[in-house]
Symmetry: C2
Subunit: 356 residues, 2 copies
C-alpha cells in the first residue's frame, strides 16, 4: 500500500512532559504512556497524515467498525537503552512483517515500511527520556491498526487508523507461573486467525483464563481445538519444553503465533549446541515425562515476559510440579537474550537495530 | 450485575433533528443513525450513569482494551411500525439473553434487564419518527458493549461501555445470494467463541469472504473447522436446506450462533406441518441432493436479511445452481415472519413486544 509520499510526519510536541509524575520503580505493565503517540489514517485508498502528537484520547464514532467487528491487529515490541544512552530495538523488521501479515488476514491494508521506521525513529527520539537503562527496563511499543469506517454492517472497513503507543516497562511477570493445559476451551481454529495478532484472539481467552485463575493458575497452555491432544502456545507466549537435555517446541501453523522470542530462543539454542526439536508434542508425552522425571523445564517466550519459567502444570485435575533447575535453560536463554537486547554483549545474529 | 438502582436514565435531547436530511428510500444498511444514542458505563463494579444523548463521536483512550483485545460483543434487533403508528420489537428478551451469554464468554459483566428495556422504550420514543411503516422497513437496533479500561496488557478490562445505536433500514440484501462452501478457512473452533456475538468473529471472516467475492459470490457457508465436512452457518445468518419437502438445519453448538430468526423459522415450519430436521448435515449430502435434484432450496435466516434465498453454491470449484421454486419455503417463511413482525397478522407465538 502506498503512502502519499510527499507527506512528511507532522510533529505536534507536547507542551510539557508528564515524566516526573511517573514512579519508574513501580510500573504496572502497559498502564502508563509516554508524552507522545503516532497516528496515521487510511482514507481513500492511501495511508495519510502521519502525525506525532501528545498522547491523549481520540474522538471516534461509536459506529466505527472496530467496536462491532473487531477488525484490528497489533504488535508488541520493546526499545532498550544501554548505559551509554544508546537506544535499540530488537528485530523490528519482524514486527513490521508480522503486523502486515496479521493485517492481510484481517482484510486490513498493509502499512508502509518506510513510514513505520520513520515513525519509530521520530517518536523514540521525542520520548527517549522514558527509556530507562538497566537490565529488565524497557519501553514497550504498541503499534496497532483499527477499522474506523462508520457502519454497522459486517463488511471490511474502507478507513483505518494506525497508531503507536509507548509504555515504560519493567519485568512483566513476577513470581511463579502455574499453567493449566486446555481440555475444553480453545484459542484458535484451523483455517482461523490464530497466527495473526488479531485483537479478538485475546479477548476470547479472558474467560477460560479467568477460570484457571480462580483455581490458582496464571495462564492456560492451549492445545489444538480438534482433539486437545497437541500442546500449542500460551496466551501471549510460545511454549518450550525441556525433556532431559532436549529443547522441544511446537511448529508454527495457522493457529499459532510465529513469535520473535521463540525464533530467537531456537537460534540461541542451536548456537549453544542444545538439541532442539521443532515438532508436535502431545499432552500425554508431557505427562509421561513429568511422571518419569525426564521433564526438566517448561517456559514461555514472548516480548512482554521475555522468558517465563513455569513451576507447575495441571492436567485432568492433576497437578504436576516441576523440579527446580539450577542452572536452567530458561535462565540461560533469558540472560543471553537480554544481554543482546541491552547491548551488553556481542550480537552474532544481527538482531539489534540502533535507533539513537 | 447490579445497577446503582437509584439512577434513572438521564436524557439529553438533541437540539434539532437530522431526519429531514435522510432519504428513506435510499438507505445503505447500517450507515445512517438516528438523533440519539444510549450509553451506560460499568465502573467500580457497577453499571452507572445510563444516559440518552445526541448521536455523535465518543472520546476514548487509544489504549482502551477494546482496540487491542477485541473484548466486545453486540446484538442486532429491529423495531417495526404498523400502519397505525404502533411500534413493536421482535422477541427482544432473546437478544438481551444472548448479549449476556456473549458477555459471559468474553469476560464482560452482564447488563441488567430492567435498564435494557427502559433504555429501549425511552430511546425508541425519542426517535420514533425514524421508524417508517411499510413491509420491509424497520429500525435496526445495535446494542453493544466494549472494554474501556486503559491498558495494553492482555487481561479483562475493569471498565466497559454499553451503548445502543439506531439505524433506519430497508431490506438488507438485494439480488441473488451465491455462496461458497468453506473448505480451507474457518469461522470458529470447538471450545471457542463462535456461539457468541463477539466482535472478533466478524472481522475474522472478512478476508475469506473477500476471496469469495472476487469469484462472484456474496457469502461463505462455514463448515466445521476440524474436517470441513458439516455445514454450519453463514457470516450473519443461520442456514436452512430444503431437500424434497423436508427442512433441515444444523443443530447449534459452541461454534454456531443460536439465531432468533432460525428458532422462529423452525417454529413456523412446525406450525405449518413441514417436516423439520435439526441435525448435522454434511457437504456431501448437499452435493448429492443437488446432483439428483432433491435439493430444492437453500436460504439464510437472520435479523438483518430476514430470509435470504441462495441461488447457487460452489464447492470444490464446481458450481451448483438451485432450481427456481414458486412458491418457495423461503418466501413463505419470509412472508409469515414479516407479517408477524409488522403486526399484519396474529401472533400465535407471542413474539411481538409492543413498545409504543
Ligand atoms: C499469542 C502469542 N503467542 C506468542 C507471542 C510471543 O511473540 P513474540 O515473541 O514475538 O512477542 C505473542 C506476543 O507477544 C502472542 O500474542
Ligand atoms: C453469525 C451469525 N449467525 C446467525 C445470525 C442470525 O441471528 P438472528 O436471527 O438472531 O439475527 C447472526 C446475527 O444476525 C449472526 O451474526
Amino acid at each position: 500500500m502506498s503512502l502519499i509520499t510527499s507527506q512528511k510526519i507532522h510533529i505536534n510536541k507536547a507542551s510539557s512532559s508528564r515524566i516526573n509524575d511517573v514512579d519508574f520503580n513501580n510500573l504496572t505493565f502497559g498502564s502508563v504512556f509516554t508524552d507522545h503517540m503516532f497516528e496515521c489514517d487510511f482514507i481513500d485508498g492511501n495511508w495519510q497524515n502521519p502525525t506525532i502528537k501528545p498522547y491523549g484520547p481520540i474522538s471516534i464514532s461509536p459506529a466505527a467498525k472496530v467496536f462491532h467487528y473487531g477488525q484490528a491487529v497489533f504488535e508488541g515490541m520493546k526499545a532498550y537503552k544501554d548505559d551509554h544512552g544508546k537506544v535499540f530495538l530488537f528485530r523490528p523488521k519482524e514486527n513490521l512483517k508480522r503486523i502486515n501479515k496479521s493485517s492481510v488476514r484481517m482484510a486490513i491494508p498493509e502499512f508502509p515500511k518506510d513510514v513505520f521506521f520513520e515513525a519509530m525513529h521520530k517518536i523514540l527520539e521525542l520520548d527517549k527520556d522514558w527509556i530507562k537503562s538497566g537490565l529488565g527496563n524497557s519501553l514497550y511499543i504498541r503499534p496497532f491498526v483499527m477499522a474506523t469506517q462508520v457502519g454497522v454492517s459486517a463488511s471490511p472497513s474502507n478507513a483505518y487508523k494506525f497508531m503507536i503507543l509507548l509504555s515504560p516497562a519493567q519485568a512483566y511477570y513476577t513470581g511463579e507461573v502455574r499453567v493449566v493445559i486446555a481440555q475444553q476451551y480453545s484459542r484458535a481454529a484451523d483455517g482461523g486467525v490464530g497466527f495473526a495478532k488479531a485483537a479478538g484472539n485475546y479477548g476470547a481467552q479472558f474467560y477460560p483464563t479467568n477460570l484457571a485463575r480462580e483455581k490458582g493458575f496464571q495462564q492456560v497452555i492451549w492445545t489444538d481445538s480438534n482433539e486437545h491432544k497437541y500442546l500449542e502456545e500460551a496466551g501471549t507466549m510460545n511454549v518450550f519444553f525441556r525433556i532431559n537435555n532436549t529443547l522441544i517446541t511446537a511448529p508454527t501453523n495457522d493457529r499459532i503465533l510465529d513469535g520473535i522470542t521463540r525464533k530467537s530462543v531456537i537460534a540461541i539454542a542451536e548456537k549453544n549446541n542444545i538439541t532442539t526439536e521443532v515438532r508436535k508434542i502431545t499432552v500425554s508425552e508431557l505427562v509421561n515425562a513429568a511422571k518419569d522425571g525426564s521433564l526438566k523445564e517448561i517456559f514461555g517466550a514472548g516480548t512482554a515476559a521475555v522468558i517465563s519459567p513455569v513451576s507447575a502444570f495441571s492436567y485432568e485435575e492433576t497437578l504436576y510440579e516441576l523440579p527446580k533447575q539450577e542452572p536452567s535453560f530458561a535462565s540461560e536463554f533469558k540472560k543471553e537474550l537480554m544481554e543482546i537486547q541491552h547491548n551488553l554483549t556481542e550480537d552474532p545474529f544481527n538482531w539489534r537495530y540502533k535507533v539513537l
